[in-house]
């Protein structure tokens, strides 16, 4: 490996055409008549190959490989295995006194797996919705009652509660405590 770096250092200094391009030096070449001949390097036999960009084609190939190798082929293998060797369930009567779980209501094994591990069951979502409606209804009823009370108080004008605004000094106390600690730590200017 040390030899490579030596070779590299050697190649960068030797009188070769490729070094002449960057360094702008003249290249000395020997000719058959036993004299060194100065050859100005004006053009190379190697030129830049001007061609359209292959970036989109390469990106297309990358995407095709990604989606086929990591997407389509594994999915096809898994689905083939499941359909051949596990297979769909057969319909049966519910035994007496037995409550089947949510995933046992589907025939295909992949649907069963998803119902067991990923998806919420019909009953779970139903009960969540019932509870949500119960809470929202409760808040609705409270708001309606409040509205009726305020209306009555405005009508009858016989209670001070309409004019009483409850106040807490929680915020003021905390501001005072914070200001005091700030002054303790950093002082006044």
């Amino acid at each position: 490996m040390a030899a490579f770096s030596l070779l590299r250092a050697f190649a960068s200094k030797v009188n070769l055409p490729k070094n002449a391009i960057n360094q702008g030096i003249l290249v000395l070449r020997s000719n058959p008549n036993n004299a060194l001949q100065v050859v100005r390097q004006m053009s190379e036999h190697r030129t830049m190959h001007i061609k359209p960009s292959r970036w989109s084609w390469n990106r297309f190939k990358d995407f095709m490989h990604f989606y086929i190798m990591l997407g389509a082929i594994p999915a096809a293998l898994v689905i083939t295995y499941v359909n051949l060797f596990i297979g769909p369930a057969r319909l049966a009567e519910i035994p007496e006194g037995y409550v089947p779980e949510a995933h046992e209501y589907f025939p295909h094994p992949i649907t069963r797996w998803m119902a067991k591990h990923i998806n919420k069951s019909y009953q779970q979502e139903y009960e969540l919705m019932c509870h949500h409606i119960y809470e929202v209804e409760y808040e609705q009823k409270l708001r309606k009652a409040e509205h009726r009370i305020k209306q009555k108080m405005a009508e009858k004008q016989d209670t001070q509660a309409y004019y009483y605004q409850p106040v807490t000094s929680r915020n003021e106390r905390s501001i005072r405590v914070n200001t005091e600690t700030d002054i303790e730590m950093s002082g006044t200017n």
Binding site: L84, F85, I86, G87, A89, R90, L91, A92, E93, I94, P100, E104, Y105, F106, P107, P109, R112, Y122, Y126, M129, C130, I133, Y134, V136, E137, K141
Partner: protein, 165 residues
């Protein structure tokens, strides 16, 4: 599908040949499936879900939204079941039509009457409610129908006097 066994014992050699060609492909595939694939599958079952009956919309209080939600869900499930029932009756009628083609007016009359009755009942309950099905709208439709029938007699017999009660 195989042909039914012939009545007089004579066989058609062309048909036999075609059956033999079919069997060259079918026999190995069927053997593989029955011996290798199906035998190695675990025997698991699935069930048909049965739902409990909950109070319908006419048994709910007006301000009970949870009861109304449950009635709506039951209405949706019943609508699916009733659609399937109509579909089955319609399918039976259609199959009868196709198989009894020239004599269908006579031979499928009972199935036609059944289908007319079933679809009429379905439309009575579920149709003309608009795109967003609503159990309360269906209930009100029933109420309006009963009022109309009280005023004018059965639906289909025409309206009597506009203000009759």
């Amino acid at each position: 599908m195989e042909d039914p066994p012939s009545a007089n014992g004579k066989t058609n050699s062309y048909a036999e040949f075609m059956q033999a060609v079919y069997r060259t492909v079918d026999r190995p595939v069927t053997w593989f499936r029955e011996k290798v694939v199906v035998s190695n599958r675990p025997d698991h079952v699935y069930y048909h879900q049965k739902f409990r009956r909950v109070p319908t919309i006419d048994e709910c209080y007006t301000d009970d939204l949870v009861c109304r939600f449950e009635a709506q869900q039951q209405f949706n499930r019943d609508k699916l079941v009733d659609s399937e029932i109509v579909q089955l009756v319609r399918q039976r009628y259609k199959e009868c039509l196709i198989s009894e083609q020239p004599d269908h007016t006579r031979k499928c009359a009972k199935l036609m009457a059944d289908f007319q009755q079933v679809s009429e009942n379905f439309c009575m309950k579920y149709s003309d409610l608009g795109p967003l099905n609503n159990v309360k709208d269906a209930y009100m439709k029933q109420k309006h129908r009963m009022l109309w029938e009280r005023r004018h007699g059965k639906v289909g017999t025409g309206m009597k006097d506009q203000d009759a009660l």
